[in-house]
Point group: C2
Chain length 318, copies 2
Amino acid sequence: MSDPLVIGLDVGGTSSRVVVTDLNGVRFGTGRGGGGNPVAHGAAAAASAIGTAIDAALAGVDPGRILAAVIGLAGGTQMRKALDEVWPDHGITCPVRLVGDAVVAFAAGTADPDGTVLIAGTGAIAGQIVDRRLGLISDGHGWLLGDRGSGFWLGLHAVRAALADLEEGIGTSLTSLIRDKLIGQSVFGTRRELVSAMIAAAHAEPPVTLSRFAPLVLDAAAAGDPVAKNLITEAAGYLLRSTAAVRGPAETGPIALAGSLLTVATPLAQRVREELAARWPGAALVTATDGAAGAAWLAALSLDPSAPHPSTVRATGS
Amino acid sequence: MSDPLVIGLDVGGTSSRVVVTDLNGVRFGTGRGGGGNPVAHGAAAAASAIGTAIDAALAGVDPGRILAAVIGLAGGTQMRKALDEVWPDHGITCPVRLVGDAVVAFAAGTADPDGTVLIAGTGAIAGQIVDRRLGLISDGHGWLLGDRGSGFWLGLHAVRAALADLEEGIGTSLTSLIRDKLIGQSVFGTRRELVSAMIAAAHAEPPVTLSRFAPLVLDAAAAGDPVAKNLITEAAGYLLRSTAAVRGPAETGPIALAGSLLTVATPLAQRVREELAARWPGAALVTATDGAAGAAWLAALSLDPSAPHPSTVRATGS
């Protein structure tokens, strides 16, 4: 019989990633699909996006070899039923463990069982990790009710800043950038018509897609725009507040940073790192770029408690 | 030939109202339909809701007698094309003037040509009125980008307060009220599952419908709930700020209050009235309850500059 395999999934608001590995972390397949967050897209669309990513990861793999599966998902409870129908369609019959996206992000960043994870991508959440399970959480309330400091939050406030600039002249380079992205080069007779058209365009698409404007804010802040810099400061403040809500002042475990806003060099990532280092000087700040690999590792651990952490595999693999 | 008639429409986020009158303000028909705000519902659905209301108002009326039409609408520009197709369907061939909902609200509240209008219903906007046309405006940016202090804003922040109470124990009677409205009597194993279910339920419906929770906040504030009272104070602050953005400190024209939050006796209406009276002690505060009548009067004025204001008609009519 062939060696057992595991499958790990990381389902975010903008994309879903899947990886299939053996118990040593060697990759047998990877896949990527659209946003699978049920809060942002609805359970059926989320299940479909996840199915696409699974298909790609299973190309050339016998699904019968997969003996453990872990899926990390924001706001997961209401997805369980939709996902129950996805697995048999792909020939996967092993138990599937559904955990928070914070759990797989932390596992992707560190082999330690305890610590803190802070995610800022399309959404934002901070979580306490105890024995590789979620303890306290803060925010993760979705774009409508929370996700303060997230990519959605930055994008939304970039549009608000552009409107405030057009109406009150607050002065920001975001205005023309947002205008171009929202309505292109359309010409309007009055500034009020321009404002109305921008408002209508922003309301016309799924709100969560405003997160696509977050890079504009990061770039503008890097270039010195004061309004964008203030938004970065405010976003960092929300993320720090969420972290402090789940991590005591004396805790020493690693802090895993995840999500597109924190895993590449951005003014927000820099600011957040500085503030985390100032508040928890002893803590290791690790970056979690591959939540799917973290999920696969958690699945491997359930079969073999000595399964190596992905970072080890990457460091020593061929 | 029969006497000329006019038609007035007031299209809000939650309902659309239509009234048909003669030039003396005598009513020949009224109609009511669903929300017709294109930003909240899309242009096609808005046009359909308006058509339903027009149908009702025209029952028993020869549409050929209608010689002027005025429609008040929030964020109106992008509706013009959709509405262009509505009128011929109803046999209305006269010119149709499309104005902001603020213009018809002001006209409904006062016969004065100049002053200020403050609307807080599903949305929120303040407008300067000059010669019965819109001058400066403030907010009216829609639920996603603004409408601060509106019914949507109150409803959204009521849900946020309920989550903060469940997670941080801020203590508010809103929690059980919002929980009941969002998810009914469902029982959950953990508080986190309850929070997740409430978040999913809030995201599952059109965001603007959160405005249905605004009465809960008003009632809770009236009953002394401190969190609800703070929300009222904050909402009133936003509405006052918007008003001050369009009205100079020395202006003396009337201030027309419109929208469901300001036209009945609510803690928010009381607070706003007190603050307006304190800042503009000389100004008459008038209530505009019937925007459609204001629109019809503006239509009548276009045919007969001496057409009587609806308040006069009400006072002297049979």
